[in-house]
């Protein structure tokens, strides 16, 4: 574990500790170590003993804002540690009226990007035992030796493509900002797919979607999927058939993505959570790209006051069909 992140964790613990133990908040949402060193899971801290477990390392990838939906039912006021994506997720929930701003205390954590266990293993080329970090490089320890790689090489894909590593909303910023990232290439794979013929694209999606287990993990982690009743579980009318059919897979995926038009914050949690690696971001980003091109630039979650593009209109809007 890097010295730096241990120091940072200490600092975070101290600040949130004052609020939690002083009674300003009833619960703190953070991260703790799970079964594996390469995973940090959500921590629900209520007391000093819980706070001892608080972790801030390169595996705190899970978006905590979404847990507010449940925790606010039980606690009057909840504190949350928010990275860039968690903060945009919070704005998303706020815009959907799913959380009350005055019942949440946001502790901002500018994020250096989280590491991908899969990529770490690939780089290590053998059984990875542990890692250590310093100054932008990661040392991988395997049974047979050590190897150093650039941190950028082993970032999670979604973090490498993240534009807003700094929280866009917070009550208190706990670490120093990383700065907005410029020149991030997000739409390359969408553009590549656009080059294909309709039949080729259909075959591509039919192949990718055929792996879908309909576990709905992608929905479960998503900050815009906060409806109390989701169309996939609705019985009357039953929109989503349960059968394993290509048509039903398309139904789920097109509608899931479409419900995110102008609302998806491009956090990549859906794709990370998917157990069968379906490139869900390509669907989300197609919509982000087109809606921006048609109706002006909009970044969901960045500004809670700005109207999402599908909630507004201009009389002279263009259309994507042949009539204006």
């Amino acid at each position: 574990m890097a010295e730096k992140s241990l120091k940072e964790a200490e600092k975070i613990r101290e600040i949130v500790g004052q609020d939690l133990l002083g009674g300003r908040i009833g619960l703190l949402l953070g991260w703790e170590k799970g079964h594996y060193w390469w995973q940090s899971r959500p921590l629900f801290a209520k007391n000093e003993a819980d706070l001892e477990k608080l972790t801030w390392d390169s595996f705190c990838v899970i978006n905590l804002s979404r847990y507010l939906l449940e925790e606010l039912k039980e606690h009057g006021k909840v504190g949350v540690l928010v990275k860039g994506c968690d903060a945009r997720a919070f704005n998303r929930l706020l815009q959907d009226n799913m959380v009350a701003r005055d019942r949440v205390v946001l502790y901002g954590l500018p994020c250096p990007g989280m590491l991908d266990y899969g990529r770490l293993n690939e780089e290590a080329g053998g059984a990875l035992i542990s890692i250590s970090e310093s100054n932008g490089s990661v040392t991988l320890k395997t049974g047979t030796g050590e190897k150093s790689v650039e941190r950028d090489q082993v970032l999670m894909k979604k973090c490498a493509e993240c534009v807003y590593p700094d929280p866009v909303v917070y009550d208190q910023l706990l670490l120093s900002p990383q700065g907005k990232k410029e020149g991030v290439e997000r739409f390359k794979s969408v553009e590549d797919l656009e080059e294909l013929t309709p039949d080729e694209r259909f075959a591509y999606w039919e192949g990718e979607l055929s792996r879908c287990l309909r576990c709905y993990a992608c929905r479960q982690v998503c900050p815009f999927c906060s409806c109390r009743e989701c169309f996939v579980e609705q019985d009357n009318p039953r929109w989503q058939g349960r059968a394993y059919q290509p048509g039903e897979n398309f139904m789920f995926h097109l509608v899931r993505a479409y419900h995110g038009t102008g609302r998806c914050i491009d956090c990549g949690e859906c794709e990370r959570a998917c157990p069968v690696d379906i490139p869900l971001q390509e669907l989300n980003r197609k919509l982000i790209k087109d809606i921006n091109q048609l109706y002006g630039d909009y970044e969901a979650g960045v500004d809670a006051e700005a109207d999402p593009p599908l909630l507004t209109y201009r009389p002279d809007d263009p259309a994507a069909f042949s009539e204006k």
């Binding site: 039903e248 993505a257 994507a320």
Partner: protein, 152 residues
């Protein structure tokens, strides 16, 4: 497994589902009828209160259950009976059209048109147009529910 564009069987006729808003396009269809204009019987009209009522799942369900082409028709922008329904529909259906194309549907399969209640001729023209285009393109197999059977 489904297929993309299927072979045209002999005697194949496309099935077109037209979602028409109650106040303009459906009335436009009525006018086409009373003016004795003809349009292909391939087109099955479903009346919706407003183009803003369109749930994209209507369109996908139509494809699952046998439609070869889907068209949504509503009042011209500015003429919506509910003032702004079609302004919302324009944005939503634009995004949705791009998405279904991205999923692999041909652009011809899903269309949106503005047809007023006085445009009986335009109604007949557009319905003929989409039927012709889908005829040229061939049957749609994409998203088709394998359990769906066209009744003889």
């Amino acid at each position: 497994m489904s297929v993309g564009v299927k072979e045209k069987a002999a005697g194949w006729e496309p099935l077109i589902v037209a979602f028409c808003c109650n106040w303009c396009s459906y009335a436009g269809g009525d006018l086409a009828g009373t003016s004795r204009l003809t349009y292909p019987s391939n087109v099955k009209v479903i009346r919706v209160p407003c183009s803003g009522r369109m749930n994209p799942m209507f369109v996908l369900r139509a494809f699952q259950r046998g439609a070869d082409g889907v068209i949504v028709a509503g009042c011209h922008p500015g003429d919506c009976h509910y003032s702004t329904g079609n302004y919302s529909a324009r944005r939503r259906l634009s995004a949705f059209k791009r998405l279904v194309e991205f999923a692999g549907f041909e652009p011809e399969r899903f269309e949106v048109r503005w047809i007023s209640s006085s445009e009986g001729d335009k109604f007949a023209e557009e319905m003929t147009g989409i039927t012709e285009r889908i005829k040229a393109l061939g049957p749609n197999g994409k998203m088709r529910d394998a359990r769906w059977q066209k009744k003889a």
